[in-house]
Structures are given as C-alpha cells and as structure tokens.
Symmetry: C2
C-alpha cells in the first residue's frame, strides 16, 4: 500500500480523481484499505457531489465502520445523513454500534425522520435502538451499548469460550464477560484473560470476580467516566432499578466523555467555545459576542459607579492611575480561586455545603491580599511620595483581592446549587464582577481618607 505514506492532501487528491473518473473498483480498494479513522479524515474533505458518489460505491456496512470510528461533530453528521437516501441511511445506522447509532438519532430533530429510519431497519435492531433512545442524553443509558456478552452463572470456562466464539462478531467488547443469575442480575465478571488461562472444566463462578463496579442507567456521564478512570476499567456494566444488567459502556466512549468535559470546562473558563475552529470570522464573532455584550452591560455598572466618584477624582486625579491596577489584580485573584472551585466541583472533591470552603478561601484571600497589598502600598507610597496614598491603595488592593477570592469560590457553588453548570461562571465573568466590587472598595476607602491626601 503506497497510499499509507501519503499526506492527507495527496490522498484527498487521489480519491477525488478516482471519483471524478468513476473508477469504483480502484476507489473501493484504496479507500477501504485505510484505517477507518483515516477514511473519515478523507471523507470529511469531499464535496457534497463527491460524497453522493461515495454512497454509491461504499456499502452501508462499510459506511457504518467509518462513522463508528470517530465522534464527528453533530452538524456534520446531520448533513451526511440528510444527503443519503432513507434506505441507505437506515441501513448504515443499523450496522453501526448501537450507542453510536443512538447518538446520531438523538441529534436528528425531525422525529418523523427518526421513525422512518427505524421502520426501514431490521426489526430486532429497531427495537434495540428504540429502547436506547428512551434514555436521557448524557446519562449512562444514552452512552451504553447493548452488544455485550453475559453468561449464566452455571456455565463452565469452556462453555463460555465457545459461547464467545459465536457472539464475538456482534459484541462491542468481549474482554469482560458478565456472569448473571436468572433475574439477569450481575453475580460477577470474568475477563477473557482469565478464561484463557483456566481449565475448560472449571465453572466460571470459580474464577469470576464477585465485586463488580457498575453504574445505574441514570448516572450522569461525567460520574461514569470518573468511575471507569478511577478503577482502570476497559468497560463498565450499566444496571437498571432491579439491578438487572442493561448494557455496558466501553473505554473508547469514556475517553470521548472525558475529552468533552475537559473542553467544556476550558471553554467555560474563557467564555468562548474553543472548538470553533471550523468557523469563519463571522461565525466566530457570533459565538464570542453574547458573552462580550453581556459582560459589557455588567461593566457599565462599574462605569456608572466610577462616574459617581467624578468629583473625588477631580480633587485627586492621582487616584485614577491605580484603578486598572486594583481591578485587574483582584480580577486575576478571582479567576484563580474560580478555577480551583470549578475543578473541585467537577471532581466532586468538595462536599455540597455552600460555605464549606469559605474559611479556606477567606484565609487564602487574606494572605495573598496582605502580601500584594503591602507590596503595592510600598511601591505607590515611594513612587508618588505619599504615604497616605500608599495606604489607601494597599488597603483597597487587599480588600478587593479578598472579596474577589470569595466571589470566585462562591459563585460557581451558588450556580451549581441553583442548577446551572458551574463551568459557565467564566474567568471574564468573575473579573468583570470583581471590577465592580473593587472600584466600590477603592473609592470608599479613598473618600474616607480624602482630606488627608
């Protein structure tokens, strides 16, 4: 295979040429020889016209392998499926891993379209997908696959291996075999590794692990991912309310969830969707403006407040030089404590009480505020040859940092409490909010000392 060492651009060129020349045989050979992930990279770059050819050349089963290999953006998936004829789309979905197929069906807003697809599928698959479609998005149920291997507790190692040989083609992972009782409740788990090394005559119950880590079907996906990561699992079983085994979630889906969560938190902290990379400047601006404008109005509060102190500034313009220094530094401190708080919340390290870390953040604020405050008091005092000014700036800086620290720690907790995603409390939000408190603190202290300036 000479294609293997070609760059993506060269490969796209190669395949576009084959499509243009209607060379189906050669296209199939070369295209399918690639790893599914590489197929996706090429496929994404085709034009609509070229993709229509691809749907003629590549079977639904082959197309399913392509879609299974990569969690594509929802917007792309919608486009691709709308381009296919309904029979081809339904067939592709039915060949996909059930969890991935459900993910796509969940994205299609048109319920008639979804029903049409399900009608066109083999009824067994349609029933399976219908069940999965009932689970809430972003829960264990929506993430799980029903293609797994479970055996009755009476089976022997040899019988289990024979059973796997028959089932292995369908099942998403055969590396864990779940051992169940008559009520389909998990009694234990045995790895393929253990099956291989033990005698065929032994009952599986002799070698299975009885302590099985599982998750409830309604568990949030973040929590599931954390559990799989903590226990170093390749797959985790999902159980219903009678503890019956409903499905499994495999490590590849867990990796995607962890990545999504990390991206969402990172995006949240910066008040921007960092995966906007496919966008034009217009699309990027559309994504960034809502936060900028919202914070602009919050910032107007600060501007109004400063406006109220205009006479104070007229009397002592020297004060204006330090406004941004105080608001900026307090904003930085607030961003730091915000990030720590959001992190603790997403890791569930923190207990739920709103004020549990209050003392900690207060002390941290006092310590950092004191040191930064003394530093700037000395600098400002010496620079402007004015001890009182130094004292005002230093005290204001300290108080502003303490308040920003507390705001950074409490706001995400408060949002979590009232049901919002704490990651939405972004760094820009906290710094804009703390601008307001910092200015209030600064000018209140300055007014108090004004006659001494």
């Amino acid at each position: 295979m000479t294609l293997k060492n070609l760059s993506l651009e060269k490969r796209i060129e190669h395949f576009s040429k084959l499509l243009a020349e209607h060379r189906m045989g050669r296209f199939r050979t070369d295209f399918l020889a690639q790893h599914a992930f590489d197929q996706v990279q090429v496929f994404k770059e085709f034009s609509t016209h070229e993709r229509k050819h691809v749907y003629d050349y590549i079977s639904p089963e082959e197309m399913a392998g392509l879609f299974d290999s990569d969690p594509m953006e929802e917007s792309l998936l919608k486009v691709y499926f709308s381009e296919m004829n309904a029979q081809y789309a339904a067939s592709t979905l039915s060949f996909m891993k059930p969890d991935n197929a459900v993910h796509i069906l969940n994205e299609i807003d048109d319920t008639h379209q979804v029903s049409a697809y399900l009608t066109l599928m083999p009824s067994k698959v349609a029933r399976e997908l219908s069940t999965l479609l009932n689970y809430t998005d972003h829960t264990a149920g929506a993430l799980m696959t029903t293609d797994f291997v479970s055996v009755p507790v009476e089976m022997t190692v040899g019988e289990t291996i024979q059973y796997i040989k028959k089932e292995a083609i369908e099942a998403e992972t055969i590396y864990y075999v779940y051992v169940v009782n008559e009520a389909n409740q998990i009694q234990g788990v045995i790895s393929l590794r253990d099956l291989i090394v033990h005698s065929d005559e032994d009952p599986v119950s002799q070698w299975m692990r009885r302590q099985v880590i599982s998750v409830n079907v309604n568990e949030e996906e973040e929590e599931v991912a954390r559990t799989v990561q903590d226990y170093n699992l390749l797959a985790i079983p999902v159980t219903g309310y009678d503890n019956e085994l409903l499905g499994i979630i495999t490590i590849d889906d867990i990796v995607d969830v962890l990545e999504e969560v990390a991206t969402a938190n990172y995006s949240g902290l910066a008040a921007v969707d960092v995966d906007e990379d496919h966008a034009t400047p217009l699309q990027a601006s559309k994504g960034r403006l809502p936060w900028l404008i919202t914070l602009l109005f919050l910032g107007m509060g600060t501007a109004t407040l400063i406006g109220k102190y205009e006479t104070l500034i007229e009397e002592a313009t020297v004060l204006s030089a330090f406004i941004t220094l105080i608001t900026g530094t307090a904003g930085n401190a607030g961003t730091q404590s915000l990030a720590v708080a959001v992190r603790k919340l997403t890791n569930k390290d923190e207990d739920d009480k709103l004020f549990s870390s209050f003392g900690f953040e207060l002390m941290t604020g006092v310590l950092t505020g004191l040191i930064v405050g003394v530093t700037i008091a000395l600098i400002a005092g010496v620079w402007k040859q004015n001890i009182i000014l130094g004292l005002i700036i230093g005290t204001a800086m300290m108080c502003a940092i303490i308040v920003a620290n507390l705001a950074g720690a409490l706001v995400p907790k408060l949002m979590d409490k009232i049901g919002f995603d704490p990651a939405v409390a972004s760094g820009p939000f906290i710094s804009t909010l703390s601008d307001l408190t910092s200015v209030l603190i600064y000018f209140s202290i300055a007014s108090f000392f004004l006659d001494k300036l």
Copy 2:
C-alpha cells in the same frame, strides 16, 4: 463483605481500629478484599505511624497492586517510599508494572537511592527498569511498559494462544498480540478476539492486521494520547529507530495523560494550579502569589501610563469612568481568542506559521470590535449627552478589542515558537497585557479629540 457498603470515613475508622489493636489477620482480610482503588483511598488517610504498620502487614507484592491502581501525586509517593525500608521499597517497585515503577523512580531526585533500589531488585527487573529510566520524561519511552506479548510471524493461532496462556500472568495487556519478524520489527497485530474466533491451525499471519499504528519511542506523550484516541486503540506499540518493537502503552496510561494535559491547560488559563486541593491556605497562597505579583508589576506599567495622562483626566474627568470598561472588555475578548489559540496549538490543528491565523483573528477582532464599539458609543453618547465622547469611547473600544484579539492569538504561538509551553500564557496575563494597550489606545484617541470634548 459488609465493608463494601460503608462510607470511606467508616472504613478508615474500621481499619485504624484494627491497626491500633494490632489485629493483622483481620486487617489483611478486610483491607485486601477491597478493590485496589478503594485500598488507595483508605491508605492515603492513614497517619505515618499507621502506614508503618501497614508495611509490616501487607506484602510488597500486595503493596505493588495498590500503587499500580492509581496515579498518585508525586509528593505523596515520595513520602511513602521514604517511609519504607529500602528492601521493602525495592521489592514493591519490582512487583509493580514497569511503567509505573519507572514513573516513581523518575520522581526520586536522589540518584544514590535509585541505584540502591535497583541493586536490591532481581537483576532481570533491574535491567528492565534501567533501560526504561533512560527515556526522557513525558515521551512514549517513559510511558511504555515492556510487559507485552509478541510472537514470531511463523506461529499458528493455536500456538499463539498456548503462548499467551503462559505469558498472560506477566503481560500488562494480552488483548493485542504483536507479530514480529526476526529483526523484532512489527509485521502485524492480532487481537485476542480474533485469535479466539479463528481455527487453531491457521497461521497468525493469515488473520493479523498488517496496518499497525505505532509511535516512535521519542514521541511526546500528548501526541501519543491523541493517536490512541483517534484510532480507538486499547494499546499502541512503541518502536525504536530501526522500527524494532520496544514496548507498548496501554489505554489506562493514555487516559491519565489526557487528564494531565487537560488539567495543565485549565490551570494555565487561570494562572493557578487547580489541583492544589490538599493544600492549606498558606500553601495555596504560595502557589498563587508568583503570578499575582508578576502581573502586578506588568499592571504597574498601565498605572504609570495612566499617570502620564493625569492632566488629560483633570481636564475631562468623565474619561475616567470608562477606563475599566474598555480595559475589561478588551481583556475578555483577548481571553477568548487566547483560549481558542491554545486549544488549536495543543490539538496541532494549526500549521506552524506564526501569522497563519493572523487574518482570521484580525477579521474576528474587527467584527466583534465594531459591534461592541457601536453599542458602547451609543450608550455612552446618550448617557453623557455627548456625541464626541461616545465616538471616543466607541473607537477606543473597537481598537482595544482588535489589539487584544491579536495578542491573545499571537502570544501563545510566539511562546510555542521560542520553546515555552503556550498554555502558560494565561487569561490573567493576556488581560493584564491588554490593559496596557487598551489604556494607551484610549488616551491617545481622547487626547486627539480633547479640544472637541
């Protein structure tokens, strides 16, 4: 096992009691009945005194299982190993998975101590670890394990399964078997799943996949993680410069790398180590102050600049009300474009040229700047009943946003170019930097229009 349903606190209490009463037998039974991950959670909460007992009760092999299950903080690992006697420590390390043992040895700064441990180990293990210790930290070499299964290309499926049965106890994963030629170069890979379903008489070469995704031993760990994630692998082989197979990296280590990278980026964006959770307020302050003080000095530049415009402010104090609004909004825009840029850099989506996204960010800056600028021009103009003031504020806002946008996009690229981690260019850094440029822009424009105010 009644312990299973107890909370962590109750379990710690239970085990502390057993340790205090010197009930070794019961302690061993109950402690080892827990999942390794849960053992770690309890172990971490023991006092130094209690842990010394644990080292007497739990064998090095059992302790190795505990350390293998969880990537603990380096500081904790150092403490634990310094508490053990050298023979116990060496023995524990030798029973651990090689990649994990090397990770710990890499953390021990004292090279004499490391040599002492290696001397006390079985020579085969010591040789293995010495080789791994030669690889640079955070590369594929440092992450890989040498416990994997490879077979010569001539073997049959049946022979391979027999071989696995013997090797499975040692190998970290047996789910992929690598097929090599005489020079130990990878010819293909066959999954345990494929071995199970095919006839014993078939040569492995008949069923192996010939396209094997592998990484070079010097590849950066982030790049390795990205590859494993893209291709949905459970393990990836690591090759040397003659393409010889040196080791494999398994998915559990990849998940840890992805988590570390995500945490580092998140921490970077907020200019704070978000995993400071074990710290006291004093330790937290120590971690946060360096950035705060550094940025304070950068902020002093802005204060000095404003100071130079004091006469301007005296003449038109109304200008002072809008300082924080302009610096704040520009800082927010800069943080957004920074986060997008860092994300693109870590994903290597971006080509390497410093100015490749210059046009994109310039356009995005112009668009967002224009809209925010017009908005604030109208608000300020109407509020202060002064069209010229509105124009000044609006124009300054637009220019400040454009500059901050470009800074946010270029600074991380520049840092990457000169060899720094781009994630260090934090949101607080960009907003403090853009305070300076925003103030300069604002007062320059205001000076120009002053006579018309």
